[in-house]
Symmetry: C2
Subunit: 167 residues, 2 copies
């Protein structure tokens, strides 16, 4: 694929170094994400007594004031339907969201934020955004733009790789 001048760098060696480079890159990316995510989880818990998945679900609903079906939440949150059922149950118990019957299709509910849920979410979202700005604050504007562009490349490619099956 690529030309190389060094005598040592035959296909074999190059492949290996490419491999460890990609692997290290992935491990670093994973570490960064986990680091930030752990901070967010911890702060949501100590300051608002909420978990990240519940916050995420509310966040989806806030963007869709007309409400969402369980299956739509599942797709958007990239988790299974069973999981959404559980998280929704708890938010309903806490009075932050409601399941409304859907007259068009009695198999499906419409899940919506309650007024209380919307009010509380707005407060949390404000803090959440500050935390993100703080945690990503080590990068300059330009670096963040570069980063965003690189992630777009990654997302497009990785998202296109077929699920499994192949060896």
């Amino acid at each position: 694929m690529k030309k190389t001048k060094q005598a040592q760098s035959d296909t074999e060696t190059r492949a290996t170094s490419e491999h460890t480079q990609a692997l290290r890159l992935w491990l670093r990316m994973l570490a960064c994400t986990n680091l930030i995510e752990a901070q967010i989880r911890s702060r949501l818990r100590t300051q608002f007594g909420i978990t990240l998945p519940r916050f995420d679900l509310m966040s989806q609903l806030e963007r869709s004031p007309e409400g969402l079906k369980m299956g739509e939440l599942s797709k958007r949150m990239m988790v299974t339907g069973g999981n959404v059922t559980g998280i929704t149950d708890q938010l309903v118990t806490e009075g932050l969201v409601v399941r409304e019957d859907n007259p068009k299709d009695r198999r499906a509910y419409i899940v919506k934020l309650t007024p209380e849920g919307r009010k509380i979410f707005k407060k949390m979202a404000e803090s959440h955004e500050k935390w993100i700005v703080e945690l990503l604050g080590g990068m300059s504007e330009k670096e963040r733009q570069q980063f965003h562009a690189l992630l777009a490349v990654l997302k497009t490619h990785a998202g296109g790789v077929r699920p499994d099956q192949d060896r």
Copy 2:
């Protein structure tokens, strides 16, 4: 903090756009990581019948042939001690790792790969590395280097942010 020439871009507006930029960046990063991680989990499960956490634990042990204490595993894997206990239990049941008594400190164990565990791990690691190369293959060599450097900046900063406590 930064000067701006546009009349519209007062502090308020700029702050807001910086905020949503950082937020979008974070959401994209999270989505990418989850996408790749889900692929790896799925493939480890279908092709080797193992979970990602178990693979990770074995991976740590493979890098430390002399074995590791539970607490060291916990630190390196960035998970709680209780979690390590559970994952180790299962790997012990499967005969892939052993808990050895530590004569120096009877509170602590030394966890090691068994010969069988090491053999199996090597096979899995080989495939794992291929998958990573495949999934990150959308980026050029240069892009991967840039990405790695940007992650270093992020890791340093985010790792330095104090845990919680502050408003």
